[in-house]
Every structure is written in C-alpha cells, then in structure tokens.
C-alpha cells in the first residue's frame, strides 16, 4: 500500500507535499467512535422498525424533507424502475454482505455491481454518471467560512414528486414498506432471490410463477419487498389473461402505495403499452 500510495500521490503536475500526505493519512482515521457507532446502528434499527412510521423524520427534527431530498439521488439513479432492480438487489445485498465480511484494502476500488438479468424491453436506457446529481458551475470562493454547497440536481424529473408529496403520504409509504419485526424469516437477500425467480418465470411459466408468489407470501407476509411482490402478482395476473383481477388489484395497489415507482410500469402494462408477446 505504501509504495502504491506514494506513486499515486506523486502523479500529476503537482505532487502531494509530505505535510499534506501526513494530513491525509490523519484524515483517513476520522470517523465515529465506538459509542457513536453503536448509537448510529441502534438509531437505524429503531427507525426501520414497524413502530416508527416517521423514523427518518424523528432523526431530522421532525421534518421529512431531509429524507425525501436525500432519496433524490437514489431515485434519480433508477429512472423508470423495472423489476431488474430486484435481481440487482440480490447481487447488491450479497456483495455488501461479502464486503462486510472481508477486510477492505484502502487502494481497492469499490466494485461496480452489475445487473445479472437483461433489462426488459420496456425499460428506458439507464443513465450511469449522468444519473447522479450534477453540480452547477463552480462558484468562485474567496475564503468563506462555509462555502455554499452546490445544489444537487435530480436528473429524473419523475422522482421530483417524492419531495412534493405530503408528509402523510410519505409516512404511509414508509410504514407500509417497513418490514415486520415478527416476520418469520427477515432475510432481504432470500426475499429478493425469490422475487428474482418470480421474474424469470413470469409469463413463460404461469404455474411456477403462482407457486413462487405463494411461497413468498407465506414466508414473508410482511417482508421487505411486499410492494414489489404485489406488483409482480398484478403482472402475473395480466399475463395469464385475468385482466379484471389484474385491474382490480392494480387499483388497490395504487391506493396502498401512492407514488409507487412501479405505478408507471403497471399503467403501461394494463393499457397495453408494453410489448407482451403472449397477448
């Protein structure tokens, strides 16, 4: 690490002076102490429990705008959400578990998590770095005590509704999505794997699709991905020509999950805008 670090710090037209290198090394050791870390973990755990419908707001002084604004980059990254996100989630969670179990070399670059399933035909091209908030032109700073941060910009305007929705709707969404602490097997990795199997079977193997959805309902009645399961159930009904059931369920879905990222896809599906070879 030392040799590579020196090489890295020597590159370019201006190397890094020794004093600055020492300062960088010192800065790398900054972070929460043990007590602060324990409180962070406990705070997150408490906020994600079903009893905290406004968990995020309670940590941000009672205002939800912080969380909704903070969700913009995550939502901007997804654009038009498709079920491929479930497959990526499985990979993401598995990778996060693996990363947490091994020591991270400081020189290692974060591993980009790649989708393991092809994007559906209806999916829009997924932007990469363009999806991240882009800063405006750099302001010229003299020696400000606190330079104005550059406003993050959400590229995907469809996510802007997240910040304009009512606090009540956001609280309802958080509450409906909060997994049950009583869930027999609170295992998001397993949940996501199962839903990925549903996605694979969807359309081509209707009986297997139904069986997998039933298994997910039984094993994870109030799991982390109930919303995703319901959206897949609606699509399964549509693909097996149970249109009236699909429409009725979709209406209940919209009422239960206002401003859901799946709403647009379901609308497109039920209005025949998706190219479904089975229909």
């Amino acid at each position: 690490m030392g040799a590579r670090e020196d090489e890295r710090w020597a590159d370019g037209p201006t190397g890094l002076p020794q004093e600055l290198r020492d300062a960088v090394r010192a800065a790398r050791q900054e972070g929460p102490d043990a007590g602060q870390l324990d409180r962070i973990v406990a705070g997150v755990e408490g906020a994600l429990s079903p009893q905290h419908g406004d968990g995020v707001a309670s940590h941000a002084g009672g205002e939800g705008a912080g969380s909704s604004a903070a969700m913009k980059p995550a939502l901007a990254l997804t654009g038009k959400l498709t079920y491929v996100g479930i497959a990526i989630l499985t990979s993401a969670l598995a990778l996060m578990v693996w990363l947490s179990a091994r020591p991270q070399p400081r020189s290692a670059s974060p591993v980009a998590i790649q989708a393991t399933t092809p994007a559906p035909r209806a999916a829009a091209p997924q932007p990469s770095e363009a999806a991240l908030p882009t800063p405006p032109n750099e302001p010229v700073q003299a020696v400000p005590a606190s330079p104005e941060p550059e406003r993050p910009v959400a590229v995907d305007e469809s996510t802007a509704t997240e910040s304009t929705g009512s606090h009540g709707r956001r609280a309802a969404r958080r509450e409906s999505r909060a997994p049950s602490a009583d869930s027999a097997a609170s295992d998001p990795v397993e949940e996501a794997r199962l839903l990925r199997e549903v996605k694979r079977a969807l359309g081509a193997q209707p009986e297997r699709t139904e069986a997998l959805l039933r298994e997910h309902r039984e094993r994870f009645p109030r799991g982390y991905f109930v919303e995703e399961r319901e959206a897949l159930q609606i699509e399964a009904l549509w693909k097996t020509r149970r249109a009236s059931e699909a429409r009725a369920r979709a209406a209940r879905f919209k009422a239960s999950y206002p401003q859901s990222p799946y709403e647009r896809r379901l609308d497109d599906l039920l209005q025949g805008r998706l190219d479904d070879p089975r229909r």
Binding site: G12, L20, G31, A115
Partner: protein
C-alpha cells in the same frame, strides 16, 4: 435487524461520517445525519441498479442530506458551522493530538475550496476511491476530475503554506 445490515453499517459508517463532514455538516449533527443516510440507503436499496459503485451511490445520498441541512440552516439564518472550533492545544503534543491537529488543518483548508474540487480531493486522496468512481460521484468526466484534483492539491498546498503548516518554499521546491 439483520446482523448483516448492522455489519454493513459499521463498515460504511466511517466513510459516511467523513463524507458528511467534508460536505460541511457541523460535527454536532454528524451522528444524526449518518443515521439518516443509512435509513435512506436501506429503504432505497431495492432501487439501486448497480450502474455505479456502491460507495458512489452512498456518497450521493450523503450529498443530498448535507445539502438539505445547509438549506435549512440558511432558511433559519443560523450562523454557518463550516469551521468547527479549534481543538485545544495541549502543552505536550501527543501523537494523537498531532494527528487531530493535522486533520483539522486539512479540514479547514478543504472547506475553503469549491465543493466539487474539495470532494474530488476527499474521495480520491482520503477515501482512496479510483478516479472513475470519483468522477461518477461528483458528476464529471475523469479528465475533469483529475484537473480538479491537481487544482485542489495546488490550492491546499498554498493555503497550508500560508497557515504555516508547510514551512518554507524550499519544501515546495523539493516536491515540485
């Protein structure tokens, strides 16, 4: 909570903490806002498509959380807390105190830079991210990110020289 999730939080918390600090979050709010970052991250994990590295995505959340804090402070006309108070100087300089003083000097010098320049330096030099990931995080091309890095190094060097951290021009000549 799933034990794996708690493990992931413990692993990523230092990065989140430092990112928030360098984005201008007051020290007194780091703990609360680190929690908020992880809550947002967890609730949106299903939407993470993997187009970028995980830390790049997490950094984006940190950035928006920090922006929201700044916006609220501006609205309430509070005094900005961009410069945390100087730690007391002990008569006997222990290695730990020296480390903290180094880090504090760097932090103060970094706060004088524009955010996009500052964060390229922070993510590349302090967090040791690869430049491609840094560029994705701050929203520019790698070549632009390199330009900003060299600009940051130059400005920090001059700033720390003025502050007396880098002692003489001879030091500069030796490293140029």
């Amino acid at each position: 909570m799933n034990d794996d999730v708690a493990t992931i939080i413990r692993q990523q918390a230092p990065f989140v903490w430092r990112a928030l600090r360098h984005l201008g979050v007051p020290p007194a709010q780091l703990e609360d806002l680190s929690q908020e970052v992880f809550i947002v991250m967890w609730r949106n994990l299903v939407r993470f498509r993997g187009d970028s590295a995980l830390t790049t995505w997490i950094y984006g959340i940190c950035r928006n959380v920090a922006w929201d804090v700044w916006r609220k402070r501006k609205r309430s006309r509070e005094q900005p807390h961009g410069q945390p108070p100087e730690p007391p100087v002990a008569e006997t300089q222990t290695p730990e105190l020296a480390r903290r003083e180094h880090s504090q000097r760097l932090h103060e010098a970094l706060q004088a830079l524009p955010e996009s320049t500052r964060m390229v330096f922070v993510l590349y030099e302090i967090e040791s991210m690869d430049m491609a990931d840094v560029a994705a995080a701050v929203g520019c091309t790698p070549s632009t990110a390199y330009s900003r890095l060299y600009s940051a190094r130059d400005r920090l060097r001059r700033g720390l020289t003025r502050a007396g951290v880098i002692e003489s021009d001879q030091d500069l000549a030796e490293v140029m």
